[in-house]
Each structure stands twice: as C-alpha cells, then as structure tokens.
Symmetry: D2
Subunit: 130 residues, 4 copies
C-alpha cells in the first residue's frame, strides 16, 4: 500500500464550507503516482501506457480544509490487461471516502490494450492492498 | 433530461493529449446545476441541502480539446431521502463517458438526512432519464 | 474582441461562498480559445506554438455561483514575437475582474521564440480590444 | 519565508506535456496557508478575513510532472489594510515562476477593509521575504 499526504487547498473547498467532492478523484489520482511510475519510469508522456476504464467513489464523511488528509492506494486485483486499484481517504482518524479504479495497460499508438508483462505484474503486487 | 454544453479548456487536457479523466466528474457536477436549483432555488449556500453519497464513472472513449461536449443529466430513481442521477458525456456523436451519482437530501445543521418532500419529488421526476 | 459565456460550477466556489480567485485565470484561459486557434487551427497539440510569459489579474468585485459570467478577450498590443491580451470578467453588469496576459510565439522543438508572421498578425488584429 | 513542497499531479499537466500555467496561481495560493492561518487560526470560514486584490505571475521556465516543486512564500510589504506577498516556484534548482499577490484585511459582514492590527502585523513580519 502507498500512503500519500495531501494538504487541502482553499481552492478545493466549496460554498458549503468543506472540500468539494470533485477533488476526491483528483487526490486519488495523485495517490497513484508510484503506480504510474511502474509503467512510465520517467513520468514523462512519451510512453504513457495507462488508460482509466472505471472509477467509483463512496463519500463517507466530511473533509475539512484545516487538516492534512492521508490517501491510501494499492492493488486489489490484477487481470490479464487490466488491474483494480483500491483507494481510501482518511482525515483526523476518520475514513472520509473510499473507492476503486480500473486501469488498462494501453498502447496509445496501436490503440489496443496489451497483456501486463510478468515483471510489471510483480511490481504491482508489491503494492497489494486488501 | 437536461443537456449542458461544455467547451473543453486547455487546462483540462493532460500530457497524453486528451481531456484528463478527473474533469469528467467535474463536468458531470456542472450538469447537475438545475437539480441543485430544485433544492436551493437561489443557488446560494445558505440553505444548501444536497450531499453526495456515491459517484461512478465509466470511461468509454477519448475526449478531445477541439470539440464541445454534451452532458446529459437526469433522474434515474428516487428513494425516500436519496435519489440517483444518470449521466452521459457525448462528443462528436460518440458516447465518451457515462456514470451515476447518488445524492441525499441532507440537513447540514442537524447533520441528518431528510425525506424528499412531495413537491420536490415532482420537480425531480420532470428530469427523468432512462 | 471575443465574448465567452461561462456558467460557474459549484466546484469553483470556496468556503467564503463566492467563486475562488484561482478560477479567474482558468476562465481567462478559456476565453483565449479563438486566439489559440489562430496558432493551432485544429486545437491539437502537435504544433502548439504559444507559451505564456506573464499574467496579471485585478480582482474588482465578488463573483457568485448563481449567474453566468461574460469573459471579454482581445488583443491589446502586438510586438515582434510576443503579444498582449486584455481580459475582463463581467457578471450581472458588474466588472468583477480584469487582467492582461503576454504570450510569445514559441517553437517548442527549437526552444526558441519566433517572429509572428504577417498573416497571423492580421488575424490577431481582428480581435483588437482597447 | 515559508517553504511548501508540492508534488505535481497528472491532472495538472496539459497537452503540451508540461504543467499548465493555471496551476501556478493555485500552487501559490496553497503556499499562503500559514498566512491565512494568521487571520483565521482554525482555517474555517466563519471568520475569514482576506480578500485578494491583485495577482501577478511571471512564467520563467517549464515545470514538469516528474519532480516536486518548492513554493517560497513571504511578505514583501505591509500597508495599512493591505499587504504584498512575494512568491517563487523552484523545480530541480531552476526558478520556474515568480509572482506577487496583494491581499486586503477585509470584513465580509460590513463589506469594508480594515486596518491590520499590530499583533497581526508582527506575525506577518516574521515571514519577511526580500
């Protein structure tokens, strides 16, 4: 599992006074940085390989500006060409949101999905999150 | 069903060259404006009543900067205190993303959910999307 | 001068209850779409030519969620390789923000700025804003 | 001076392949957190006091996804009711952007600016940045 600390920004709050819901998928994406790096080691875009297929977020509790949040990110399941990421957002010891996202190992030139190579699979497994 | 046209912004693209996935939930939220107005007719935050419970997005096809997108938004199901919104994103006659979001009629002062009043229910039903 | 209508989004408000200041540069960038198109007619990124050099925004009045805003965008001055865009944001007949931004005609391959060709210059002049 | 480390997000890049310019004002706002805290110690919005008057950013060099950026934030000048913040963005030992922002000590109820109290002034002076 990967832990990413994020300091909420004033621009991420909304008129109700909490963090607006759209920033949870944004923070969850931020938490996937080390997973992106497995597929694109330099984090440049010349050989970007991942395409998002599905995202799901449950909003459990309010998120406030005042305290840092902890994003927990890990691999739940690895298929042939796709894998499922499990994600949680905690603030002041409260689970505030949880979700899943499915990515496919995608070749943007041929516009086709490809099997996840064995070496990549092993790197993903290190981030197992159950 | 509500139709909202959105012109993609350069700041909403990413290094891969398409619209980044996090902007789809942002655009879907933009498409809910008339639903928000049913609960908060002045669109101010003094009596905001809606809390997001769950969001789900399937990414079907690439979204590009060059063309406007059409967000289709409507009510799929109304429960006692919550309701489900169905959402689609179309660009140049292609379905690019579809999703669902569940909101609860929430009283931010008592911090409790409340039944959806009959008059509100009727207004929601007008935006039926099957 | 170019006029772009923008409907504010809930995610663009902040806890104070108005549109957060960071979305004004975002909306001003949205207003430059037709200027970008002069340099990159297909609005793809294969031959993107513009690099932002400077941005300046004065915040004059509050911006609210409830009403559309009008972004006014035009060319104030054209130099050899750079030009100055003048920008204004109006809501319910109030000037809420105004600014300037300077772009340079930039070749991202050679990493050098280039003179603005005469035909481009003529297209820019059509959007004169004084 | 305050130093804030920020990890760039994929959603903050654009089709050109770098961090999009609109995220620089967003990151600069993130860097002002401890200054906001002087005026609103709990970082809630019940007694928010600061209104942005002006923002200015010079874009000096490209910002990439791969490396953290360092935001340097401090007070350049304190007037009667307003003050000027000086801001810099560094990445891999390169100055990539610099700016200034002017805030006014604002009473959102009376809708009037107010003198900055002596105790606040002293706290601001501790973050002097020349």
């Amino acid at each position: 599992m990967i832990v990413t600390d994020i300091t909420p920004r004033v621009s991420e709050t909304d008129g109700v006074g909490h963090i607006n819901n759209v920033f949870v998928p944004i923070w969850f994406e931020a938490g996937r940085r080390e997973i992106f790096r497995i597929f694109s080691p330099k984090l440049d875009f010349k050989n970007w390989r991942l395409a998002l297929v599905k995202v799901e977020v449950e909003y459990v509790d309010q998120i406030y500006l005042a305290n840092d949040v902890e994003i927990r990110t890990g691999i739940e399941k690895i298929g042939n060409s796709s894998f499922t990421i499990k994600e949680e957002l905690h603030q002041t010891d409260r689970l505030c949101a949880k979700g899943k996202s499915i990515y496919v190992n995608y070749n943007f030139r041929t516009e086709k999905s490809e099997s996840i190579p064995e070496t990549t699979r092993k790197k993903l497994e290190k981030y197992h999150f159950s």
